[in-house]
């Protein structure tokens, strides 16, 4: 009965807003997120009461940077039918969200914004402003960006530049033109993957890792209960020998999975790990 009443309310709200014209400047009141990274934007930039639903991963303490805040908020299964029943006036999706789902939502007249891969802090900045404006919360956006600037300001250490290499599951690494590459640079490191010729996101073969013998090896933190090939490779005798006496840094997956102003917290971690 409660459910029917709630549905009636949602229906009414959808019909009221799906005339497509939430008047300009009005704040969307029922925001639905379809993606772990979008969850972060929604939780940071919108008041709780305006969050209609988050992705299922939002409360995963290993992966979500906003797991605590997301507790108690509704979550969806990411299909158009779930979403539409929430009567959203704004849907925010990541760049991996099913294109069919987004196409269907747009066809039904629901405003959808999609996050894009941000490869520089400048891109993170403009993406944050874009989302904050869509939420009608430009000040919150600027405040969040200010936290990023503060973290970036902890910046460059003194003296020689040690060499760092990011190495994740299956040898997945980051080269020139990635956000992590910029973080390395800002923290005063040389990116060893970039030196090895990697541009963008790609793999660093085991042999390259051994030859590069970076001063710092950066990985996503181990998630308990999930096997990882990258970690298995660390036990390889060649890697053990090459990395003997070198440093390792484990980044919380919640920091390294998404590209948001929160990601800048990686910079002080890198600075602290300098040899």
């Amino acid at each position: 009965m409660v459910r029917a009443a709630a549905l009636g309310f949602l229906m009414a709200s959808l019909l009221a807003t799906s005339a497509l014209a939430a008047p300009l400047g009005a704040k969307p009141a029922h925001i639905v997120s379809l993606n772990l990274c979008a969850d972060q934007y929604v939780v940071r930039l919108a008041e709780r009461a305006r969050i209609a639903s988050l992705s299922p991963l939002a409360v995963d303490p290993e992966l979500s940077a906003v797991a605590g805040e997301a507790a108690g908020l509704p979550r969806n299964r990411g299909r158009a039918e779930d979403v539409i029943l929430l009567g959203p006036d704004l849907v925010i999706a990541g760049d991996t969200t099913d294109a069919a789902t987004l196409g269907l939502l747009r066809r039904l007249g629901i405003p959808v914004i999609e996050l894009e891969a941000a490869t520089t802090t400048q891109a993170v900045r403009s993406q944050t402003q874009r989302v904050a404006n869509a939420f009608g919360e430009p000040e919150k956006g600027e405040a969040w960006i200010a936290t990023m600037d503060a973290a970036l300001g902890t910046g460059r250490g003194e003296g020689i530049q040690p060499r760092a290499l990011y190495w994740n599951e299956n040898g997945f690494s980051v080269g020139q033109g990635t956000l992590m590459d910029e973080f390395f640079h800002r923290a005063g490191y040389l990116n060893a993957a970039r030196e090895a010729g990697l541009a963008g996101y790609g793999r660093v073969p085991l042999e390259t890792l051994v030859l590069a013998a970076p001063d710092l090896l950066v990985m996503s933190a181990k998630v308990p209960g999930r096997a990882s090939n990258a970690r298995a490779l660390l036990a390889h005798p060649a890697v053990k020998a090459a990395m003997a006496g070198k440093r390792q840094l484990e980044l919380p997956a919640a920091l390294s999975t998404c590209e948001t102003p929160d990601s800048a917290a990686i910079v002080p971690l890198l600075v602290a790990a300098r040899p």
Binding site: L15, R77, R79, D98, G103, L104, R107
Partner: protein, 339 residues
Amino acid sequence: MSMSLAPALPVSRHLLIGGLAVLVGLLFIGSLSAGRAPLALLATLRQVLAQEPSLLGLVLVEIRLPRAVLGLMVGATLGLAGAALQGLTRNPLAEPGLIGVSGSAALGAVGVFYFGLAQAFPPALPLGGMLGAAVGAALVLLLAGRGASPLTLILAGVAVTSLAGALTSLALNLAPSLYAAFEIVFWLMGSLADRSLDHVWMAAPFMVAGWVVLLSLGRPLDALSLGDEAARSLGFDIGRVGVRLVIGTALCVGAAVAVAGAIGFVGLVVPHLLRPLVGHRPSRVLVPSMLGGAALLLAADIVVRLLPGWPELQLGIITALIGAPFFLVLVLRGRRGEA
């Protein structure tokens, strides 16, 4: 006259087709009813017909209807194409997925999708799928030849599937999107989730055209089942029958794969289950296989939605779980036959 020569069948053909049609109808209604929204079908339908705007009406017409229609049409396509391919090749293992037609169609669709053509010109997607399917089907039939042993045909299929898979990976490596590879792994497993009426309009005409071509092959396929010489003496040009089969398969399987991904095994399982009921004349298996394919895929797509958990299982996983053991049984039976 031919009636008296035909072996007695366990059920009359009309009864079987009628029964299958009823089953498809029930599963279609089931598909419209399955989902997360508490939707009373009749009441919502009444609202829709009265043109009262409602959220549930929107769910029914824009979300569940396209899914049910595509489930029916894609399933019918796979069942029919499987039956026709088995008829022409006289090979029990011929099936769009196993012989590489679906993989080639996927390659065509992926090529079109990831290089922006589909966004600029939506019909490019089914056209890409059909082109891929036509090349794949022609290649396999040329490689294996007609009446080739099941082993040869499957080997040719494996070769074409591997090639299409490798080229798909290559296309993805070159694609601009970072997550293309990740997306496509899921897409290749097949799904009908969240397809819209646009997808229906885009793919349905080609599927129907393909059905018409394949259904018109009944008599030539019957003649071919008597042997090439007999078929020729009855006035059928074997080469032309093959070309028509490739065209029909490419039209419907290409369009189906373009909207639903590569869903395997339907075309293998369905004709096999139905053949004992309708006899072994290829023409008699075509229509029942169409209906059976539609029923199987609608049922599988209902199961996908009823299973708990997140994310939703891909449809191709369900059909593979049903189809792969079936395939193994056929292989075993084949071995026993040879021994």
